[in-house]
């Protein structure tokens, strides 16, 4: 086995050991988080119970940005040091990120209807998150538009790096333009502007989602490695017959 390339066998063993440490805590945290979110936290004095959508909308939004950032970083690592595992982690993360972005957009609009009276408004934050969703779809579409998987992963990696410019735009869109969307109220210089009884379920859900992402990433990476292995083996057998 060629050592200096990716060492899939070592990663494989690592993934096996890490998997339970991600999967079970994720399940527990999400379940307890849901319990607190739905039963144990107070309704908002203005919004009433619709604020409970926050416990899904906000963690999904954080995850959408977190996953794209991890994709951009692993794509850069893959391109610079020609490390196949890095490309694989970007390819594995893309669908997960796309799902989180979709959840974020959907729950946002479900929260917007009762609060702002409309499903969608062309607001800086919402538009840039929609663009992020298209970037995820673009990454996945570009990835399997080529016959040679190695070619697809490298060109998708470049798109991931170019698209990264959108992440700061999303983060600061609420500050740059006067947006209907609420400015940052958790991660702030002056400390969170939310009461602790609402903050705990929020963090529980956020950490639960992150662990869910970690477990699913390892799982999808293993699948992708097996796909590549199958592709490599069939190519090798092809040349084996050709040589005979």
């Amino acid at each position: 086995m060629i050592q200096q390339y990716a060492n899939p066998a070592r990663f494989n063993r690592l993934a096996k050991t890490l998997m339970p440490w991600f999967a079970w805590p994720a399940g527990i945290l999400i379940v307890t988080g849901l319990y607190f979110a739905l039963f144990n936290s107070p309704p908002d004095y203005q919004q009433g119970d619709t604020v409970r959508i926050m416990y899904v909308h906000v963690p999904a939004a954080w995850m959408a940005l977190f996953v794209y950032t991890s994709m951009a970083i692993s794509s850069a690592v893959g391109l610079i040091w020609k490390h196949p595992l890095a490309h694989l982690s970007a390819q594995a993360a893309a669908p997960i990120g796309a799902c989180f972005t979709f959840i974020c957009l959907l729950t946002g609009s479900l929260w917007g209807k009762p609060m702002w009276g409309t499903w969608w408004v062309w607001d800086a934050r919402l538009t840039s998150v929609l663009i992020l969703f298209f970037l995820y779809l673009g990454f996945m579409a570009l990835h399997n538009a080529f016959d040679d998987p190695a070619r697809g992963e490298r060109s998708a990696a470049i798109l991931a790096i170019i698209g990264f410019i959108n992440v700061p735009i999303i983060k600061f869109s609420v500050d740059w333009w006067n947006t209907l969307h609420q400015p940052a109220s958790v991660v702030k210089m002056s400390g969170p502007a939310i009461h602790s009884s609402m903050l705990y379920p929020l963090f529980m859900m956020a950490i639960g989602f992150t662990l869910y992402f970690g477990a699913l990433l390892l799982l999808r990476m293993k699948t992708l490695m097996l796909v590549r292995r199958a592709c490599g083996m069939s190519m090798a057998q092809l040349h084996q017959q050709a040589a005979e």
């Binding site: 849901l34 739905l38 039963f39 309704p43 009433g48 119970d49 619709t50 409970r52 959508i53 899904v56 909308h57 999904a60 669908p95 997960i96 799902c99 979709f102 959840i103 959907l106 729950t107 479900l110 929260w111 209807k113 009762p114 869910y212 699913l216 799982l219 999808r220 293993k222 699948t223 097996l226 796909v227 292995r229 199958a230 083996m233 069939s234 057998q237 084996q240 040589a243 005979e244």
Partner: protein
Amino acid sequence: MQMISDFIAMGGYGRFIWTAYGTAAIVLIGLLIISLRELRTTTAEVEALEANSPRRRRTHTGDEDAAT
């Protein structure tokens, strides 16, 4: 009984909240199931590939090839 229907109603916003949680659950659990199924089919495929060219036979043809 009354408490539960209050809970379902969620102060009149029930349909928004439950659709939000419902779709989020469907998407996340759906993704998990799809990923698990993909893993199963790919492992089966690799095992099939490995079966019809076991390591022993491959090195054998390898030697033959080097000899000619």
